[in-house]
Symmetry: C2
Subunit: 373 residues, 2 copies
């Protein structure tokens, strides 16, 4: 074996991929703006800021992947003339462009909220007339965690919205969807076409940032096969290799696709302890051409993000069944710097642990002392 | 947090300790004859062959531990004048000397097979007269995997045995114990005196090398509290901090202690996937002064050693619920170069997996195609 996998990006996702790769004797290298990134503890980081950086990176590994969704397609094009990358370039290109993404969902008959492409003040007015209000206007490319978005609640805001986002050129106007909850499905496809899917995660956000994921999503027996079908369509259509994530809204008309991420995902971090084979290990296995591992749940679990400020390790680890994952990042407001996975021996304990953590965490996000899982 | 732990030795045990330390933002450094050892992927290795090596190692970390049982006490003495080490020096000194070890077991009323100290041809003859035959003669220090031992089956062998092992000076003669099986108990003690114990492992050997461990050991409900009591006596008596292993024989007179190892142990590798908190993470937690994690079993499991030659990763990983751990060591006859942990969703599958692996592994050790777990 002894393959080396080169990864675009060197954040915590790369760090956790490399951790999963190590016991398989697979080494990782990383391509990042900072050589002091979270992945640096586990492999060589090649700076994307140096002149020969990309060529050095391409020379550093046998096969390539990514952990950074905004990996420049121009870099990928240089790479794929010389070596293989998984997932395929097309998946990345589509995920980087909201209109292409919606078009793919449409083509594969995966339901989405009504939307219209917008590229002028006139087409924005037309979209408002057709979709009704409120709508959310988004840039087709770029933007994350609520950035590059404008929520239109009245026709008086049309000009302001266009003034703000119009310079981006290509926009998308989406109807608001009334949903009861947000879930995500994560799946992996191997080089031989095998597909394995983890159970749905129910995701809770706080000011646009993922607070915690409950796995398996409660009362999701009916939703699981539908979500599994949708993500399998995407994987097979794209001839995808590696882990893919699909975020979905649960509405009274069923599941609506929100967006896809061509990579391992924050809502899948629970799988390190909670599944027989984690999203990280299965991604590495797929990229390396190895057989996929079981995605079965070992124990129902909750994953909680650590945002902005670290808790006292002593306090967190004193709680029975809590796993701590720190990313070796500087504290900064709104930044993902770690996560916790809860593995109590009794599912009822999940609520107790969440309530205890609501007291302990400097930033408890959507956790509260009277919550119930 | 951000503590650094310096570890005597840089083999696979150090590698797996450092893997467990990483998500806690704890860095490891290592002291080894080879800077190209299995732990090198995870932290700086300081060569024990250079003149200032020991001082550089002492300067490299905040607190110290070991993964190598034959760590020279003279090195530990230099270290502990400057910085703390867990486990305590005394535990290491005792484990390095079979007679001290037996004396400790005796003092703590932990049953052992009848033995006698031997330091001359006369005392060997006396031991044979007192203990009867067969006996096994061992050097008090050094020796592992059957080396430094002589099995005496007749009085005619006394002179030959003394000629072979006598030069070592201090020997121990042990009665043969008739045992039905070998088990080991692993426990961890925190800096606050908390003790947590993993369930007994049933260990199967092949030509003196551990082949596989079954956890929890079958039919061990009566044995578990006894073993737990013995190891707790040792931990508390030694004011021990970290992971300690006690190997035991199951005889018709109950459990007999064989030997202790003042470190994480091969028969505890299953705990990476099979326990809520692994022996490696709990050792790191203890050394770093953090609260201990749950030692509860997530799923019954079997750990299988990979000895001498690597299997095809593709073949092994194609089996559902198999985890592969490779140590990045060169293949060499009799050498531990990796292990497998089996985590099928149904315990009955453990037998099926073991039988399949008996076919696949280049060195199936004590596995066979008609075995039953």
């Amino acid at each position: 074996m002894n393959k080396t996998i080169g990864i675009f990006g060197g954040g915590q996702l790369g760090r956790m991929m490399a951790q999963a790769a190590l016991p398989l004797n697979i080494q990782c290298t990383f391509f990042d703006v900072s050589t002091d990134c979270p992945s640096a503890a586990l492999g060589t980081v090649i700076s994307s800021k140096t002149e020969n950086g990309l060529q050095d990176f391409i020379a550093s590994a046998d096969v390539f992947s990514l952990e950074f969704e905004n990996t420049p397609l121009s870099d990928v094009d240089v790479l794929t003339k010389q070596k293989d990358m998984h997932p395929p370039r097309q998946a990345l290109a589509i995920a980087q462009h909201r209109l292409s993404e919606k078009a793919l969902f449409d083509a594969l008959e995966i339901p989405v909220a009504p939307y219209k492409a917008v590229d002028s003040l006139e087409s924005l007015s037309a979209a408002v007339a057709e979709l009704g209000l409120p709508i959310v206007l988004k840039t087709a490319t770029g933007g994350y965690d609520g950035k590059g978005q404008f929520v239109l609640r009245s026709e008086q805001q049309i000009e302001q919205a266009w003034a703000e986002l119009g310079p981006a050129g290509s926009l998308i106007a989406e109807s608001f969807v009334t949903f009861s909850r947000e879930v995500s499905i994560i799946a992996v496809r191997g080089q031989n076409g095998d597909v394995k899917t983890w159970p749905l995660a129910e995701n809770h956000h706080h000011h646009g940032i993922l607070s915690h994921s409950i796995v398996p999503a409660p009362n999701s027996a009916d939703l699981q096969p539908v979500a599994q079908d949708y993500i399998t369509r995407l994987l097979n259509h794209l001839n995808y290799v590696g882990v893919l994530t699909l975020e979905l809204f649960v509405t009274d008309k069923g599941l609506y696709a929100n967006e896809m991420a061509p990579r391992v995902h924050n809502s899948g971090h629970w799988s390190i302890e909670g599944a027989v084979c984690s999203q990280f290990e299965n991604h590495i296995r797929a990229v390396a051409g190895l057989p996929l591992g079981s995605t079965e749940v070992v124990r129902p679990t909750v994953m909680i993000n650590i945002i902005g400020q670290y808790p006292q390790s002593e306090q967190v680890l004193a709680l029975e069944g809590v796993h701590l994952h720190l990313y070796n990042k500087e504290e900064r407001e709104g930044r993902k710097i770690g996560h916790l996975t809860l593995m109590p021996n009794d599912t009822a304990q999940l609520t107790t642990l969440c309530r205890q953590l609501a007291k302990i965490l400097p930033n408890p996000l959507a956790l509260s002392e009277d919550m119930t899982i």
